[in-house]
């Protein structure tokens, strides 16, 4: 893992130098400090795959399903209201509608399933995997197997993956790029400083994002309208990987790995909806599903015993 990041570091350096080299020579005092960043998450993944362009979605029955899947990615509540329990959209964690390498692209997942998952200790089909997104990340209800929502998302994923060899679960660009373990243990107070300097402009100081005319522009990162404790993003490690490659928006790889770990800890050190796999108590739920160093569920952070909010609330559309 750390070997991987060492391999990509020289690449990052050369990219940053290259991008600096094309900056017009300007010496104005008005120039503000711009973080060095890569254009997108794909840059450091080594991915060479290009999914088809959306303008080539066919105009037939299959194409309509593909388009519905794409619409669900961008506006989840609008196109799958019966299964979405918060104000997130799939695209919040899958940049460019699930097309971007290094941002959990759907094409990378499509060629990797069916697969055994430690999370539920069974072999999951692609539809099973999608159900998990709705249950945890969208704090909602699982669309039934074979439902239009799962067929549409499967059709869209299949369409995106055109030409990729199937069964290559190690394909470059899948998931989020690995990060080395942090030098210092991730820290709430340092994370808050990173958050205020880099994230609050969009997600707001209270982490609740911003809404305009009833549309969520920037997603809430914790609280009742965010992902629940069962979601992958509730793992500090997973969140750090996502953040390092994808945030701030348009400034991929601009934070240091340590900053990414710290701000992930800060985000995941806040209260959010209960884990739907609730075992009757925080301690029992932690013991069964969260007993690892990357989950703050059932631990005390900033004086709060996280997850101590009782049984999951019933799903509401």
């Amino acid at each position: 893992m750390s070997k991987h990041i060492q391999q990509i570091k020289p690449l990052l350096t050369s990219i940053l130098l290259a991008s600096v080299a094309v900056v017009p020579m300007v010496s104005s005092a008005a120039v503000e400090v711009t973080p060095k960043s890569a254009p997108n998450a794909a840059v450091l993944t080594g991915s060479t795959f290009t999914p088809p362009d959306p303008s080539t979605i066919p105009n037939d029955a299959f194409g309509k399903m593909v388009q519905l899947g794409r619409n669900i990615m961008f506006e989840s509540k609008k196109y799958a209201p019966q299964y979405v329990g918060n104000s997130l959209n799939c695209v919040n964690c899958h940049t460019d509608g699930g097309a971007m390498a290094g941002s959990a692209p759907l094409w990378g997942a499509w060629v990797s399933y069916p697969a055994y998952r430690g999370k539920n200790k069974k072999v999951n089909t692609y539809e099973d995997r999608l159900q998990g997104c709705f249950r945890y990340s969208m704090n909602g209800k699982m669309p039934p197997l074979g439902s239009d929502v799962l067929v549409a998302l499967s059709a869209y994923s299949y369409w995106l993956a055109k030409g990729l060899p199937t069964g290559d679960s190690k394909i470059a660009g899948r998931g989020y790029p690995d990060l080395p373990e942090p030098k210092q243990a991730p820290d709430f107070v340092r994370g808050k400083t990173v958050y205020e300097a880099n994230c609050a402009i969009c997600h707001a100081a209270n982490g609740q994002g911003r809404v305009v005319n009833g549309t969520v522009v920037f997603p809430p990162l914790w609280g009742a309208q965010s992902f629940n404790w069962g979601a992958g993003m509730g793992s500090i490690k997973n969140a750090a990987k996502f953040i390092f490659a994808n945030m701030p928006y348009g400034q991929s790889y601009s934070l240091t790995p340590q900053q990414a770990w710290d701000v992930a800890y800060y985000m995941d050190g806040h209260e959010r909806p209960q884990d739907p796999r609730w075992q009757g108590s925080v301690a029992a739920t932690r013991a069964k599903y969260h007993d690892n160093k990357n989950s703050l569920y059932g631990t005390k952070v900033n004086g709060v015993l996280l997850g101590d909010t009782g049984a999951p609330k019933p799903f509401k559309e």
Binding site: S28, P39, N40, Y79, G250, S252
Partner: protein
């Protein structure tokens, strides 16, 4: 200064709309509407409204960000993006934005993809 809506030249329309509504992630350009809100109506306090502005004004601002001569750029967000935009990109997106009526520019109006991301 607000200007009356203008017409988008046909050759600039597809690229302008793409950048405003969907962005071009290969080039590292997020959609304008992703941060400036659906229809570019603006998101207080840091992301001002884009629709209702003239193409000339918008073009000048992007150029100033690119050159680093415009202040008021928290976290260098627009400097970063402007550097990734070609002159043709700037021309297309500012022409497209200037032609949008604020009340008509709503997310998801086009047949392509759902929204402004």
């Amino acid at each position: 200064m607000a200007a009356p809506a203008q017409t988008v030249p046909a050759d600039l329309k597809p690229r302008g709309e793409q950048l405003a509504v969907y962005g071009d992630w290969k080039a590292g350009i997020p959609a304008c509407f992703r941060c400036h809100g659906p229809g570019g109506v603006g998101v207080a306090p840091a992301f001002p409204a884009l629709t209702g502005q003239s193409a000339t004004y918008l073009d000048q601002q992007i150029t100033a960000w690119k050159n680093g001569t415009r202040s008021g750029d928290p976290q260098g967000l627009m400097h970063t993006i402007a550097l990734r935009m070609s002159d043709a990109d700037t021309k297309a997106v500012t022409a497209w934005l200037a032609a949008q009526k604020p009340e008509a520019a709503v997310m998801g109006k086009t047949n392509q993809a759902g929204g402004a991301q």
